[in-house]
Symmetry: C2
Subunit: 288 residues, 2 copies
Amino acid sequence: MNSVNKLVLLGTGLIGGSFALALKRAGRVGKVVGVGRNPDNLQRALQLRVIDEASSDAAAAVQGADLVLLATPVGQMGRLMTQIAPHLPTGCIVTDGGSTKQDVAALFRAHLPQHLLYCVPGHPIAGSELSGAAAAQYGLYEGRRVVLTPLAESNPGAVATVRALWEACGANVYEMDAAEHDGIFAAVSHVPHLLAFSYMNAVLDRRNAAACLDFAASGFRDFTRIAGSHPDMWRDIALANRDAILADLKANAAQLQHVIELVEGGDSNGLTSYIERASAARSSWGRG
Amino acid sequence: MNSVNKLVLLGTGLIGGSFALALKRAGRVGKVVGVGRNPDNLQRALQLRVIDEASSDAAAAVQGADLVLLATPVGQMGRLMTQIAPHLPTGCIVTDGGSTKQDVAALFRAHLPQHLLYCVPGHPIAGSELSGAAAAQYGLYEGRRVVLTPLAESNPGAVATVRALWEACGANVYEMDAAEHDGIFAAVSHVPHLLAFSYMNAVLDRRNAAACLDFAASGFRDFTRIAGSHPDMWRDIALANRDAILADLKANAAQLQHVIELVEGGDSNGLTSYIERASAARSSWGRG
């Protein structure tokens, strides 16, 4: 399957809407049905031609579909899978855009056990401060990465189709194990967010918090940018990727303890080599 | 004193050079003598008219001076104070540009005990990735903040002079206690740097560090920007502001432990309110 006759978006926001727009531009999709709970958002998606039909009924929408993209927060995916399970056409591929993958794999197993051959978990690495169908854009996935974490059961043909469609959106597609995925994104995304929240709360707990915020400058601005992220989304991620995040938070707590010992001991050489290692790696990453 | 007849820069780089240029533009300085250890840098400062005379001899340079700015790393200031002590004219004001203030106050007391009336510690909040006399610029202090932390002994007239000169550079001048200063900058600058170094080292210690760095994206980029900072400078700051930094690092370690408990316990409501507090404060700061 190199193109899709009927694509159903379960969740019609930035991620799903941009997938639909890119496939339309690439001539890879016939009809796009957008499902969502917010009528205004669906109306906007219709006006902007992100979708061709709107629906609030996931079960009805998936009839006749050959591709379903779950593009809601992960917390809503289980309920949607339950709704569509009795109505999914045989062979209809189901994929998702969730940013954690072991939990989505578990949801597929729990709610679509008869359909695992056609379930292909995925994670497009393309966020934005914006959300909703109005934020959808043709080029969102251009040059971005998409990670697929196929189930042991996933049909290689279904995986190849999902890969080809993301590539048609301009993305570079990687495949890896779900646990490997979750460990990597815990380390480079989830844990930095939690560290930034933690640091902000430490500042707020100071008796002179207002003066601190008043004198905070550009280093603070960049270090804390991600602390302004959406609470519900990051609570869900913290809960969904709990084990990988916990292991990494504890590794960070141990590092911090080591820094405390270096400073407490006035260990000049130890501090120099500790900072040099971090600084060299960050500078080299910045050039990469 | 509203203008300076002879200004001596002990350290002729970005901070001192930009101070000299701004005072020249404002017509507030007669002659500027630049002292430094790097002949090429001094030659460049002469060519660019940042300074009018170059010297490698601090003791000789301060003769006839009415203002001395210590604009080297704090680690070099004690030695320079010792050199100039026997040669400082009575009434010559000595100020500095160091980013920690309790330790500079201690250096003044140790090395210039006869001269404390004219010692006015200061901290211009204006950094740059660039350094050296060639990086000096007229407008560096325009609209930036300068914090003065006068000693109990500092003559109010000397403080007023230093304030007026920084204001002539376009800066907004604040006065506070040295301990208050060091606590604020530990919280909003020094500790974020150490947390960023610590986080980078935690990533580097992972068995899949290369894959992590490969998938790191914009959140990682901003969160770790300050981890690329200069090792020697930040080792010196960590040692110079040890007590304030230690107290704040320990507060951060306690916050991190709390986050670990929230995640470990799957405390959805607790995580939500914890993240909401940080996110609301950061968003409000960003609009401020």
